[in-house]
Amino acid sequence: MDLTYTHAVLDSAAETRRYFAKFERIIAHLEAVAEISMDEKLITTMEVKMLKGYLRALSNTFTGLSYKYLMADRVKLQSGDQFSIDKTESGFPVFREIMQMSVDMTQANKHLKSLPSPARLKKDMVNHILTEKTAPSQLQFAMSQRIYYEYLDKKDLFLTQNDPEVIWVGMDVKDVRRSYLIHWAVYDSQTNLPVIYFMELEDTASRALPNDERRWPRVQAHLMAQSVSSLKLLTIAQGFDNDFDTLHPKMVRRFHLGPMHSHAFTQQHGPIRDVLAEASGEAGLDWALAWTVESLVSESIRKEKVGIFKTAEREVYHLDKLDFQMADSGASDISRALILPHRAYQVLNEKHKSEFADVRKYVVGTNAKILSY
């Protein structure tokens, strides 16, 4: 069976450029949305700061990809070297692209050494134009690659794995209990979407976690290996709680960014398809980006014997047992949101209001001002 059937190759320069331009705009909108959410006290200031960090990294990654593929179609590369996106239920570049970028990054210096300098490339281009009187495609491609590798070398990027970072929040001196906020992000390979994780953690060990070389590297490896979108938050939190007796995850939050729907690039089902089909016409106004926030909160603790004399705290998480779907989802709360341009929102509100009743909607106005409904 083929496993790449949902991948679409963007093979013309205009298409690729339009795609990246669209994403750059959307990511800028997302930062504004994060601020609105902060004003509404949906997320904390610290979370906003981290979210913005990841969004910026994501934006850098997209810019990097756009440099990489800017001239690719001119030099007629093999189709395997062209840019592919996941066109169903994602709209983002396929996982392989991001992984490829990680591989490229490790070799950026090597490439920069072997590629000619921008000044020389420009001179060669001028020579080519004057002597051969054709477009210097090959040189342009070399230049785009040069810029791409320079970019990889300089910028913070959103890669397939963005290792956990820890922030000290506070300490209960009497109880010797430190609190931390850990955040990390992955580019999920199953859904081809960026996923950002936050975890509020209490630490009852005598040594602070970031300075504890016995635990911190293990914690990092554990969290990265468990960051799989098909795992429920409950599974991740339980597993972590069990493997580290002195660490107590009190709250875990997961942001799935995407899917990005666009009438021009992706295929979608259900009401969103109709909305975008009706709103299409003008370029740049036929998209919608959805995201989902899952949260899992601890409601109580129980003691469990570990070894002969010791006991460890284990968290019991809040799950809404009365709502079947929620109980099954393994999260205390799931909220969905959608950001879309005004024109698409009009169609949505007129014709498909009921289908999107439980989705928070953010609408981008003509002057890029964002309103929320």
Partner: protein, 361 residues
């Protein structure tokens, strides 16, 4: 893995060699052309530019790379070891299991939780890139030569046309001279006056010397045209060979890229679904222990039916357009594989029998 690294290094050297050989041959053909323009004899140069050596080497190189691509298969077989490890218990876990089943199971769970194949996937992509880069470089090199040879060839073809038309003009002139000579000879045989005879003889001699001159030039032109013809022949064979080599490269690249794309998705999906399956149910059970389960659990049980139905519906929806696409791309994959198999029948066979180095490729 290190074995593959060695193989990659070796193939890289071979590609370099092949490129230098191709470049050498092309330049020889090229210099033959410029020599020819200067009018010197190029028979030696052309005969010297033998294709056999280049062919033999490029065949060997392609075979090596094909083997390399199949070797990547063996590397990826290492993934299945990881998958098996996630499914089963290690020796130590089995040993612990004799005393405490629960403890043994917990150890395995912990191992599954930290398992990750990300680095292996990166390695796979990296290796595949190296091979792919090698192949693409070679392909580009080939097409550069191809263009050069093609341009050369068209120029030579027009040269030959010119040569042939000149030759024909000379022939026509020679033929036109024949009746004049016969006429003069006829006149000479019946002429008896010594003065007139001497004049006719001088005329005939002049005509004959011109005839000879023309005949000689005909020979020269003929030789030139023949040389050009041989040059063209050689060039055509070379062009064919370059085209053939390009096709081989394309087949190799195609196969490699299709395979790598598929593998990255496949291995990733497999490892993650294994991970999910091994953990998900247990987590819910554990949380239940801490929650007052009695009445809520009963409600939840009743809800399972509904939830299952929903999930089924979701799955059906997700697979709606699957079938069409799957068919299309499966066909493409089969084509790529077929092309590969056609070209590298022997290697595939040997690979399947695991019989490297037991015969000539």
């Amino acid at each position: 893995m290190s074995n593959l690294d060695v193989q990659i290094e070796q193939s890289r050297k071979e590609v370099e060699q092949a490129q230098s050989k191709i470049a050498e041959l092309s330049s020889r053909i090229d210099s033959a052309r410029s020599k020819m323009e200067q009018g010197s004899d190029i028979t030696f140069d052309i005969d010297n530019a033998t294709l056999d050596d280049v062919h033999a080497h490029s065949n060997k190189m392609s075979a090596n790379i094909a083997e390399l691509i199949l070797g990547l298969d063996d590397v990826t077989a290492g993934f299945s070891k990881d998958f098996d490890a996630m499914r089963s218990k290690t020796g130590w876990e089995k040993f612990v299991g004799v005393f405490s089943k629960k403890r043994s199971e917990m150890m395995r769970q912990e191992r599954v939780r930290v398992a990750s194949i990300e680095d292996k996937l990166q390695d796979l992509i990296g290796k595949s890139n190296v091979i792919s880069k090698m192949l693409t470089d070679q392909l580009n090199e080939l097409s550069v030569h191809k263009n050069q040879v093609e341009a050369n060839l068209t120029k030579t073809l027009t040269d030959r046309e010119v040569a042939v038309s000149k030759l024909e003009a000379i022939k026509a002139e020679l033929i036109a001279m024949d009746p004049k000579v016969i006429e003069l000879e006829g006149k000479l045989s019946i002429e008896t006056k010594p003065k007139a005879r001497a004049k006719l003889e001088a005329e005939l001699a002049a005509l004959n010397s011109k005839y000879n001159e023309l005949a000689q030039e005909e020979q020269v032109r003929l030789a030139e045209s023949q040389t050009l013809e041989r040059y063209i022949e050689k060039g055509k064979t070379w062009l064919d060979s370059l085209q053939n080599q390009s096709a081989t490269q394309m087949v190799l690249i195609n196969k490699l890229q299709t395979d790598t794309k598929q593998r990255v998705v496949l291995y990733d999906a497999l490892s993650k679904s294994l991970k999910t399956a091994q953990q998900q149910d247990v987590a819910h059970q554990i949380n239940e222990i801490g929650v007052a389960t009695d009445k809520e659990a009963q409600v939840a049980m009743a809800g399972i039916g509904a939830a299952t139905n929903n999930r089924m519906a979701d799955m059906m929806e997700a697979h709606e357009d699957h079938i069409v696409f799957a068919r299309k791309v499966v066909e493409e994959k089969i084509k790529a594989d077929e092309r590969f198999a056609r070209r590298f029948e022997k290697i595939v066979e040997m690979h399947d029998k695991n019989a490297y180095g037991q015969g000539d490729v």
